[in-house]
Symmetry: C2
Subunit: 217 residues, 2 copies
């Protein structure tokens, strides 16, 4: 018999930059249904402990990956009788951004293998409707960056303008003109120049920046 109450979950598309590509975190399911398939991290609402669904999302992500993400926001809600064999279900989808220097700290929970998949090609045979959910989260992220949002949450604490531009390009899937990009960042209040701090490498030293304390994505 189908349940009379819907199953309410929060699912999270957690993005990061790794090895020059935009990645999304998937976990291998250790339980039925969809045992052994890859899925977005997610979990069931606990009305006794979660004050709202943002709480659910943060709790689930923290318990499944061991990290607390700095940024998390809603994408959309997916619902219906057909998307989960356990019955009528409703998933509030979030997207979250993880700075690249925190990626090594992410670990699956005891029962779960994890993988950082290419966000543009996360693989076939994913659990439930999660291929659709990943596409929706990616569209939201790209749309934000396309509208001049700066994906500062994906960068380490200190970064160069080249790293910032490359991060935007990886999300958008296209090159940006360097001089146009730099001009747009002039007098940009969301980034702060770190006077006297440079990244030293094979090329000439590059000025380092940090995100403004109260910047908005």
């Amino acid at each position: 018999m189908k349940k009379l109450f819907p199953l309410v979950t929060a699912d999270i598309a957690l993005f990061t930059i790794q090895e020059g590509s935009l990645r999304v975190l998937l976990g291998k399911r250790a339980n039925t249904p969809e045992l052994g398939r890859w899925a977005l991290p997610g979990g069931v609402l606990d009305p006794m402990s979660d004050s709202d669904l943002n709480d659910t999302a943060r709790r689930v992500l923290s318990s499944k990956t061991g990290v607390d993400v700095p940024f998390l926001d809603q994408v959309a809600t997916f619902s219906g009788a057909a998307r989960d064999p356990r019955g009528w279900s409703l998933s509030v989808l979030y997207y979250a951004l993880l700075p690249r220097d925190l990626v090594p700290a992410v670990a699956g929970s005891k029962t779960e293998a994890i993988e950082w998949r290419d966000a543009f090609a996360p693989g076939s045979g994913l659990a439930f409707d999660h291929a659709k959910l990943i596409a929706a989260a990616l569209a939201t992220l790209r749309d934000k960056v396309d509208r001049a949002a700066l994906p500062l949450h994906l960068l380490p604490e200190r970064f160069t303008l080249t790293e910032l531009q490359q991060t935007c390009e990886l999300i958008l899937g296209r090159s940006l003109d360097k001089s146009v990009f730099r001009r747009r960042l002039k007098d940009e209040p969301r980034i702060v120049q770190l006077d006297g701090e440079f990244l030293y490498g094979p090329q000439r030293p590059a000025q380092l920046f940090r995100a403004a304390v109260d910047f908005r994505f």
Copy 2:
């Protein structure tokens, strides 16, 4: 005792143009909680009859207003333990657009008084967190039109370009330059010129248009 399952509802911000302003439909609550307060039309998910939450939204709106809206889409999901005295609740908010010539057909259900309120100033003392929900739905609608979406669902079946521009202006809350607006509509595939059909009035006859059959908002 608080319920262990969340109350899942769909609430709808139904917009139309009336008397030269953008309006949103409110109903006077005939039941507790919030008896007598004004609220967005909404209703509880019925997993036995709704195949997904879009179904819930359409069913609720049809039963509370007597009309089937041509356009309906999600805004966001609002949730938490504190927003409804009945316990943990989750509302998936939709926005919907009603052509102005269908406004006279809207009627409240037997127990409900309805009013078309100014969407920018819907009044104080609204039920639950519905003031916040209206603001969120309005922001989504404005954002769409700001990004060159044409609010054709708000217009009657046949309309002039002046009516289209006025509708955009009412949503955006600012004037648009007529020549820029007309230039943007040149070769616009979402509207179709009705050859030989004009609106006759005190000024010179105005060309009539209709929406393309498969246009997207």
